[in-house]
Symmetry: C2
Subunit: 210 residues, 2 copies
């Protein structure tokens, strides 16, 4: 299937050009024109991939998802379940320049999705994937009651997205170290060391509903 | 000071027009032109208040802050400290149509602040006010260690903003009831009923740093 291979190769080339522009000029600088110039393609040659700023953002968002998935798949599993969970969740947080660029794409894409219904389906997919990552973190921490797990996954997911937003808007207040401390405090409260115990020292079941 | 009174009266009139347009047409429909038509003013008469969509958003954001402050000030203090905290935090969450409109303004304003540096100062003020509200919730829950309080205020604040974002994007998954359940689970874990205890039943100090 030479055509498919060619398409995949060209998509990868374009993806690299998109990423170079985002790293250099920010999401706002990543226009269709700027990406064409960076890739050395005519703007017309981009039309199979995107023609508008919204479609460019969707393309960039798919790149971010692929990048995160690749890094998560490459993690050496830690022996300790808590460390293993933290290793995976760190890949979702803006802790270095690469992940800050990914976070910028995610927030620009999210902002656009709020007002651009055609982007909602892809946004929903990414949202659901993040939610599933949170649910699997809780499963790894042995939060097994389904009702508790549903609430706690939503809580962890909201925390991670809220932190990502705050890190982008207030990098002076929310440094990478601060992000890790807050995530750590949350996982402490969820998973073992700080969780409620009965007087016999057994973990007390967390409350699902109020 | 008749001029000042007049200005304040006109500002209130304009605010009411802005709010009617937002409730009817959403934040995206709240253009300078639409607001002028709603107020029955000429577009030129608006120029003391805002001339661009960004300034209109900043004006609407100040309205939201005033609305929330007014509601919080009017709350009858609950006898129970946990209920008192929850009553105040509920005013920040999109639990009904009015607060959903406020949440839309907040998210549109936040999205714009990410790419529009002149909006950052006002965004920073609102961010700091929300952070202070979270810190005061923790003080009311008797989280008194300053290091713990700083981390926990940032965690509660990120949770609230993340939930607001998820409620706007996924109202199918994050209903008002679900919001309250998640907030309740968070407060349970922070403040008393579910907090870690020593074997003697005394509250165990929460960990500030990992």
């Amino acid at each position: 299937m030479p055509k498919l291979v060619d398409h995949e190769q060209r998509r990868r080339e374009l993806g690299e050009a998109v990423w170079r522009v985002i790293r250099r000029d920010g999401v706002e600088g990543a226009t269709v024109r700027a990406v064409a110039a960076e890739a050395g393609w005519s703007p017309g040659a981009l039309r199979h991939y995107f023609t508008t700023q919204s479609e460019l953002l969707a393309f960039a968002m798919r790149l971010v998802v692929e990048r995160v998935e690749k890094r998560v798949a490459a993690i050496e599993p830690a022996a300790d379940r808590r460390a293993a969970v933290e290793d995976r969740l760190r890949e979702l947080m803006p802790l270095d320049n690469e992940r800050r660029a990914e976070n910028e794409v995610w927030l620009a894409f999210t902002s656009r999705a709020l007002i651009d219904p055609p982007l909602r389906a892809l946004h929903g997919e990414v949202h659901d994937a993040l939610h599933a990552a949170c649910a699997s973190a809780l499963a790894a921490l042995e939060v097994s009651d389904p009702a508790v797990c549903a609430i706690e996954a939503a809580r962890l997911h909201a925390l991670i997205d809220g932190l990502a937003l705050h890190a982008a808007l207030r990098p002076d207040l929310i440094s990478p170290n601060r992000l890790l401390t807050i995530l750590g405090a949350h996982l402490d409260a969820l998973g073992g060391t700080e969780s409620p115990r009965t007087p016999e020292g057994r973990p007390r079941r967390r409350r699902a509903q109020r």
